[in-house]
Symmetry: C3
Subunit: 471 residues, 3 copies
């Protein structure tokens, strides 16, 4: 792309001359379809306030751990990328600092070759900001100026971009105690911004802040959380609040996908120990798995789709977590197990009409071995498309090849951008559509699918998130 300065219209489509024309036709038919974004980390308040974005660095570099992690690996300390130490109020950079951060990115831009960050950011710069000069030490100042100038224009404020991106629905990720006032106001203003119920810290009795979380939740739900049953009840109250404010899904991220139940008395015993700070790590994990199962039970009752993102060890580098807090680029995947872990949940709820469980994995090995076989039998299970680390062209191709032979296309979750980088949303969905077109073109060229069928599947994949996430 930098070779020409303009993103190529056929980019990411298969180069094989027997495939590209088919892929192009399939892609073009879905290119301009509205975007459904069922899971991500955009802050609803940004859209509510609709203030101009501050500067290129604090928009495109500092908050995006995809970007900062590779710069960190290349030797740049996080503080030189705008990260504030934990406990220090997050402050916008001065213009000089913002320019220096941008300069650091540009100087190391070659390090991103082959990564989707390169892809997303160049797509954004070209399509959104009209910047098609390659990033480099030499072009840093000019590209900074160009982006900064655009950010000052009304057309680049968050709500204008929301419309320009053709975002039909955007789901955020929210704390159960959130009052969701921002979402309510946005919906009243005609923006379909939906909250997602994310109770992780309330389900982790082994984490230091857990008792304080219980206290906050008790207040928000006006329900005693001093027992395990009360905790579930309080969460259930807040789920209803979320549903009233447009939520269709809960989202869960834990180290493993275990869902083994405890007896009521054992759950209460561990709950007491954990509040007293005396539960063992194994007990805390057992209670967490029990509570996750309870969340599935709630889903069967209240209809929230349950999304599960397991198998990532958070905060791998303790010193960095201590200094800069979470989400600083060193959450690292571990092996994931689903067959045994989800069995208690699926034996109870796997065939309950209307229950949806969308399962994501950063461990590719479960795709063909466990996830596709589960999604190919249980009406509740949807195979989550590649998430984090794997939300890239080749990985998405591998996912399709690993999953669809067993589960077909109707059991997929639809593409999930999972991003904090608001401006990258169109680039990410466009990438997915191009890869899907390429995958389907191959099936057509191998005479495994008619092109008319492939076009139906391509359109179905774009709207599949509506089905899986009940949007």
């Amino acid at each position: 792309m930098p070779a020409t300065g303009t993103p190529h219209p056929d980019r990411l489509l298969p180069p094989d001359p027997a495939l590209r024309p088919i892929a192009r036709r399939l892609y073009e038919a879905v290119r301009d379809a509205p975007i459904v974004s069922p899971h991500g980390h955009v802050d609803a308040r940004v859209l509510l306030d609709d203030a101009p974005f501050a500067d290129p660095a604090s928009l495109l570099v500092t908050p995006d751990h995809y970007v900062t992690r590779l710069l960190h690996a290349d030797g740049v300390p996080l503080e030189l990328l705008g990260r504030r130490p934990a406990g220090v109020a997050s402050s916008p950079p001065s213009e000089a600092e913002a320019r220096a951060i941008w300069q650091r990115l540009c100087e190391r831009w070659t390090r991103f070759r082959g990564t989707p960050v390169r892809w997303w950011l160049e797509h954004e710069l070209a399509d959104l900001f009209g910047v098609d000069e390659p990033l480099s030490a030499a072009s840093a100042e000019r590209t900074y100026d160009a982006v900064a100038a655009r950010l000052a224009e009304p057309a680049f404020r968050p709500r204008a971009l929301f419309r320009r991106f053709r975002l039909d629905v955007l789901a955020t990720t929210d704390d159960p105690c959130d009052d969701l006032a921002a979402h309510a106001a946005l919906q009243a203003a005609g923006f379909s911004v939906r909250p997602t119920f994310r109770p992780d810290p309330y389900l982790e009795p082994g984490r230091p802040g857990w008792p304080a979380h219980l206290t906050r939740l008790a207040k928000a739900a006006d329900t005693d959380t001093g027992t395990a049953a009360g905790l579930v009840e309080a969460l259930s109250v807040r789920r209803r609040h979320f549903i009233e404010n447009g939520a269709t899904a809960s989202d869960h991220a834990h180290l493993d996908a275990g869902t083994e139940p405890l007896s009521a008395s054992e759950a209460e015993r561990i709950h007491r120990s954990a509040r007293a700070g005396t539960a063992t790590p194994a007990e805390a994990a057992a209670l967490r798995r029990h509570l996750l199962l309870e969340m599935a039970r709630c889903s069967c009752e209240d209809g929230l789709v349950m999304a599960l993102h397991a198998g990532v060890l958070r905060g791998h580098h303790g010193p960095t977590t201590e200094r800069f807090g979470p989400d600083t680029g060193h959450d690292i995947p571990v092996r994931l197990e689903l067959t045994r872990s989800l069995r208690p949940l699926l034996e109870r709820f796997g065939t309950v009409h209307g229950f949806h469980l969308v399962v994501f994995s950063t461990d590719e090995t479960v795709w063909s071995r466990e996830l596709a076989p589960l999604a190919g039998f249980y009406p509740s299970v949807y195979a989550g498309v590649p998430w984090w680390f794997l939300d890239a062209p080749d990985a998405i191709r591998r996912f399709h090849e690993a999953v669809t032979e067993t589960a077909g296309f109707s059991r997929l979750s639809g593409f999930v951008d999972d991003t904090r980088a608001f401006c990258s949303i169109p680039a990410r969905h466009d990438m997915a559509r191009r890869i899907e077109a390429g995958t389907l073109a191959r099936l057509v060229a191998e005479h495994r699918l008619g092109e008319d069928e492939a076009a139906e599947v391509a359109a179905g994949l774009v709207s599949q998130a509506r089905t899986a996430f009940k949007l």
Copy 2:
């Protein structure tokens, strides 16, 4: 395919113009070679009786869990697909029921896009039944009628199809107590239908019915099974009966591939506990691993090829198992380990002349990591080609890429259809031959193999099952 109504002659061959002509030549040279089917689940009695198949639904839908599982995932209860509750005698559907089942399949036929079920069934319908109208709600009645009409013709009775399929050898899977009268009669009638010794339930002291199995076996073998040594002796007697009736292989499916031996006294102690119903799950597993090792010892003595299909958790959804029994589409793979698990067996028997151990896996990760390295050193180990869930075009390609760089082509098992769906056998073997031709064409086009060599390898792969399974 539905776009044209007739399967394309080049289907599944690589679309790359540099590869397809090579692949076509390689495929055409093996297309019409007779079929060797060394492992599958066709019932010998069907061939013995040679009665016409009842109707399209009970032939092509109800008994095939590949088909029913994806319909179940799409919301169709198994009872609406002809499954009878466990304990209820399996009865053929009325014509109305059969038509309703077929209708359900046709209405949901789009759900199978991208799966090998789509591939196999359309191949069968077109090649065998002359039905090339795409399946859909609209065509359900016509396609049912067309298939049903054919099934009434003499040319569509089991033995006629056996000959039409050019089946050189068909191995079935049989209980050690089976008298094998059906096999004997078929062999006398000129059909090479060979039994396979499948002793799984006799080797699983942890399963409820185990003591009853021992009693049945004791009777069949006229040998006391009240000790572990007696059990092995009784199995050995029945192995001889199988060999006398044409068997060349035993087949074993357990949750793991462990083969750690026990001392004789420990084996007897657990055997006693298990008969009394007091063995722990760990003890029962230990005795099973010991018995599996004993089966390998028997193989070294009596020459039966040992086929091992480990790593699948059977009956994942308890309520469905309880209602409909086993093999109802929710056996789900788990991680498999071979290096340590098979070590006790391979240290003892891995280099014994004439011993064959064919190892299959539904966990792709062992292919390059463990299976190819084992098959590339031990003369006894053959790398089983993709089985269940992975017996599909892209998965077979991945298998070839993962295994042959380490083990070459001479250490593979040859294709195994592993099917209960008699009519799908030609379609499955044809699929394998097309994929093999494509894999080899790529090696030729990358100048890693001469085309003359590739042709030799392609022919070798078609007859490889004869070598691996001693047929």
Copy 3:
């Protein structure tokens, strides 16, 4: 290749007409670049002595377990391939024996179809020895004679080949007690042959010979190894000796990648037990992990790059190890875990300036799941390119696809030939360059990279080992 008798100039480049011309241009620009070989098993004494290689069999067959293992799988006992029983002095074969060994290879040459051994050896035979007749039973005598004739020429002595191979640097693998006189003499003679510090047996308190190793080390380092602290100090002394003799790296191969520290007192306690032969396997492993962490601490101080090759179970077939010793072709990979195992090490040293940790894996599953995420955050971690069993065209392609989307190209180790087969070095590096060119050509043809950028990356990959291994 045998079809034509001459290696095709485009071999291994992608056949797709949209890719091949790009790949060819990228490859040609790096084809003749000097070779940097940062890790391998060539014996420095061979280069020091510079004696002619004895004969084709003892050069190309007997010592190369890639070759002997597949012949063994095909039924040839190792003694018929020139392996001497352990304890028997390794003696060169008589001419008759060498011819017989070569004959056995040639008769079974078809078994190597699809493997890199086929590729490497035919490349060597054609490019180096001018033999382009395909190997077969019929050609065995002629090809033996042709190679043998060449080996007698001065141009085929080790030092002449070193220059002909354009070997800029060759790193060997050496015992910490080695005096490195051979390396010193070679460096004085103008050959950049660098030792690598390989302390494995000194770090394995669970292995039988450990106390004897401590004694030898104490003498070599003139340091008491009777305590754990003393052992680390002695290793540190020898590391300095290695550095003085040109070493830039240490190399470590253990069953797992664990690095959990012990308290000083616990380390000393286990050290005492292990010397007395009373440490449990778990204690011995714990001390080994502690010592590996100490080696990383040393690296932070003395600057040696730390290379880690974990996850292979050595000597799988006990009877063969007993008869023929180690490295006889039955080391078999097991599952590898990095995220948790390396965490203690990376929390302490992962961001230390100048520390390099190069991590290899024979378990592909860690590539995208653990290795790329680690290398994409920690400035110290380099993703080791495919090693052993996976150092083959398709596996290297899979590696690039699995790792570079997360970590880019700058975090790779560069190609490592890891070979004992001196004459295969150019063929191996040539293979890597061709595969890299193909990978990059695909990115260009998919418009993910400009061709000018791809050319920079290709050149960078060839010299990347200099960066990762500080050469």
